[in-house]
Amino acid sequence: MSIVFYLLAALTVAGGLAAMLLRNTVHCALALTVAFAGLALLFLNLDAQFAGFAQILVYIGAVAILVVFAILLTRGSETPKDGVFSRSWLAGLAIAAAVFAVLGWAVLQSVRVLPHETAVPVVTVQQIGVALVGRYVLPLEIVAVLLTAALIGAVIVAMHEKEEHK
């Protein structure tokens, strides 16, 4: 692994840590954007250009903006006086540490068959499009239905029902 990977991984993990540790909620959203950008760069570093640019468009372009909108609409930028962590934070932290310990142990114990040092796979957008309407056409349709349902559902859930005047 190259030095570029370690730099990008450090950036991404630092962004994720900051997003979960900072007190101000708006700062958390900005740190989340840094983590998303680091992940997009990691995708590009792994020769997955399409996924990297989709990550930039969808996450930095849409999800981060949605999160900021939600924070400002719910006045979440006001830091609560009695701490930002839940009462049961110790149990949550222990569970997360245990999960990471198990996963890290599994990674370090595994036999090194990867990486296959294959040549850089040439993936054109045309190939992805052909695969999407060929082999992956059923998942594509299901995702289309899911996105439509989620859009309508989100609008209905967040819709402000006016009080009816008599």
Binding site: F5, Y6, A9, V13, G16, A19, M20, T25, C28, A29, A35, L39, L42, F43, L46, D47, A48, A51, A54, Q55, V58, Y59, A62, L66, V67, F69, A70, L73, T74, G76, G83, V84, F85, S86, S88, W89, A91, G92, L93, I95, A96, V99, F100, V107, L108, L114, P115, T118, P121, V123, Q127, I128, A131, Y136, P139, L146, L147, A150, V157, A158
Partner: protein, 98 residues
């Protein structure tokens, strides 16, 4: 080392989702976990035996689409809960009945 970075990010997201009080930050933690899973999918696609079959990358692209839908619905729910209960503090939301 890429899976290890991915699992570290999963654990950070899990810790945040389990310990933060603000509902929006819990959603942010879940988004981090989904993204870390995408990183692992892409890494195993790139260094796997058949990168030309596009399997892992397609999985990651569909996962991005599903995560975007999840974020839209989740944040809409948080806004509605805030309108109803005047708070997004999860410790204060301790009853199911409106």
């Amino acid at each position: 080392m890429t899976p290890l970075a991915g699992y570290l990010l999963v654990s950070i997201g899990l810790a945040g989702a389990l310990t933060r009080r603000n509902a929006i930050l819990v959603l942010i933690g879940i988004e981090l976990m989904l993204n870390a899973a995408n990183l692992n999918l892409i890494a195993f696609w790139r260094y796997g035996p058949h990168p030309e079959s596009l399997t892992g990358m397609m999985f990651a692209i569909f996962s991005i689409a599903v995560a975007a839908a999840e974020a839209a619905v989740g944040l809409g729910l948080v806004i509605q809960i805030h309108r109803h209960a005047k708070t997004t503090d999860l410790d204060a939301m301790n009853r199911m009945k409106g």
